[in-house]
Symmetry: C2
Subunit: 345 residues, 2 copies
């Protein structure tokens, strides 16, 4: 049987992380891989084009006893995450060589996917392929389900989005504007604030790092209170939001990036507001809602084509720069959705 | 016009309270009242038979800036709360002398009700009248809405109730058993634990005051986790519950009695569990659900008549003992629903 062995650069997960992840927690290495599947294999071999850097990856790096919404990563093994790939060889009837796919893959040049149900075919190719790590992928569906299904927005309601220029936040803000809501976002730099106001059409935005008093900042932005909060950060921000929520408010609990690298977690003191204001808080994750991808894609591709939503990405180039790109999420280095380009189609 | 002036003993609310309420925060006094309404009045004059002591009254005693789900009490004025009364005179077409009513009244022997929409006629009289302060009143509807509507129980699910022998908790536990759930309650004394297991049919119960580690106690009682938590206490208990919740769990946030008398409030650290376990938390209060009283009464009166639910009250006698009865709620002195008997029908 003909072998086609090539070098395969990889990023390994070194060991469980405590505190902020560092580049040294990931190891760049290389092995060889056969680009021809053995006879009888039902796996799919892919060439990775884009890798996605997402905040949820941090909880997966903690020792499993820490609650995490996905299985923990395995020390010594290649890092895994969402990506866009091209099929090189396939033993699975659903996929064939040359097809473009997105889904869970490895942080490496080539990946052998033994559970092809984690791959999805790419249907729309008139948008950048990298969008399948963002607006058309997990962050997109997260924004869609969290905003429309959990927050049940009504025209004229007030919406607050934290981490608003990130992969999910920028979409939530635009969905909220399309729904006729008043939308304010927060982020951690002037550049991001400008992006929110000028590119994504938020009605207002503030730099949380420059506010002495988050409760007062929210009171200033929402004099009559917040109907909907899209929670991406947790901790002190959540506490300030609770004091500023309106009665019958809804909080979609999507992420708590401010809390992933610290232990003990920041205290939240104002949960009594849940009763006094009859607030709903609902945690959710994308894997529970995968069946909504078809309707979501149909809706969002339309928005993109009509120019009703836009999407900003921060693209790092090369696998060797993937670890620092991932780590950058936790200091807010990225402007927009962080993605890593490995290879053009 | 004939006057029928009588003495009217009253409990006044002295001034806003910080920390635990004391008897001295309430003043026993008396005034005179005319038992005949003046010509043309549209008010209703009632003789109070039972007064209800409920935890929600504590937030009403704080200076209004503190979030409270009802209006604050007015210093110097008579205390108000739920009660059962008999109409003495009425200028309102919906009520006539001799009728029994329940609703918001004053902590006094006779009350002049100027907003008769706060009164409800008593329909079923084959149960103790005091039940309209409890199982057939605000706590009853609270248990009913919180458990059935917010927690959406399914047969075989696990249910945890804190403050389980209280007015609301004892009903939630019994509703949960009727729904085919496995139910564990916690309370603060052996006598209450016995009540939960032997009278209300809880599958298990524990004394939270005797547990070193609430997280471990819940793990022991729920080895596979909690599907439904009926939240009455807040603080450290909520934190321990979050770690023990199962995926897709529901938390009906009814009260946080452990937090009403302290400032700052106890920290909650484990809200990330909302995401990892996709938990719903929903705050609620009875006034939003008053339209459900007819269906609720029909259901619960049936349960009472068939002996399917039971109700335990702690009855203090005399208006002069009302302040200490109310305060006793916050140290758990009451066994079952705390009510004050002022007069027999």
């Amino acid at each position: 049987m003909a072998e086609e062995k090539v070098m395969n650069k990889q990023v390994l997960f070194k060991d469980y992380v405590t505190g902020f992840p560092k580049e040294e927690d990931m190891v760049l290495t290389s092995s060889t891989i056969d680009l021809k599947l053995p006879q009888g294999s039902t796996a799919v071999l892919v060439k990775n084009l884009y890798l996605s850097c997402d905040p949820y990856m941090r909880p997966r790096m903690s020792r499993p006893l820490t609650q995490s919404y996905t299985d923990a990563l395995v020390p010594g093994k290649v890092l895994v995450g969402y990506g866009v790939s091209k099929v090189v060889d396939s033993g699975h009837p659903d996929f064939k060589a040359g097809e473009l796919v997105w889904g869970i893959t490895g942080w490496e040049e080539y990946s052998l996917i033994t559970m092809p149900q984690q791959l999805n075919k790419i249907k729309y190719t008139d948008v950048p392929l990298s969008y399948y790590t963002g607006i058309l992928g997990m962050p997109g569906l997260t924004a869609y389900v969290g905003f429309y299904d959990i927050c049940s927005p009504k025209k004229g309601e007030t919406v607050y989005v934290s981490a608003a220029s990130g992969a999910v936040g920028q979409l939530v803000g635009q969905f909220a504007k399309l729904a006729g809501c008043y939308v304010v976002g927060s982020a951690g730099s002037q550049e991001k604030i400008d992006l929110l106001k000028n590119k994504f059409g938020f009605d207002d935005a503030f730099n949380y790092k420059e506010e002495q008093d988050l409760t007062a900042a929210l009171k200033r932005c929402f004099p009559t209170g917040i109907d909907i909060y899209f929670e991406n950060v947790g901790g002190a921000m959540l506490d300030a939001v609770l004091l500023n929520m309106r009665e019958q408010g809804r909080i979609a609990v999507c992420g708590m990036i401010s809390q992933y690298n610290i232990n003990p977690k920041d205290p939240v003191h104002n949960l009594f507001c849940l009763i006094s204001k009859r607030i709903l808080m609902q945690g959710f994750i994308e894997p529970d809602h995968k069946h909504k991808y078809p309707q979501f894609h149909e809706q969002v591709i339309q928005y993109i084509r009509e120019g009703k939503v836009t999407y900003v990405e921060d693209v790092a180039e090369g696998l060797e720069n993937a670890p620092s790109a991932l780590i950058g999420l936790f200091s807010g280095k990225n402007i927009g959705k962080q993605v890593v380009l490995l290879a053009h189609e």
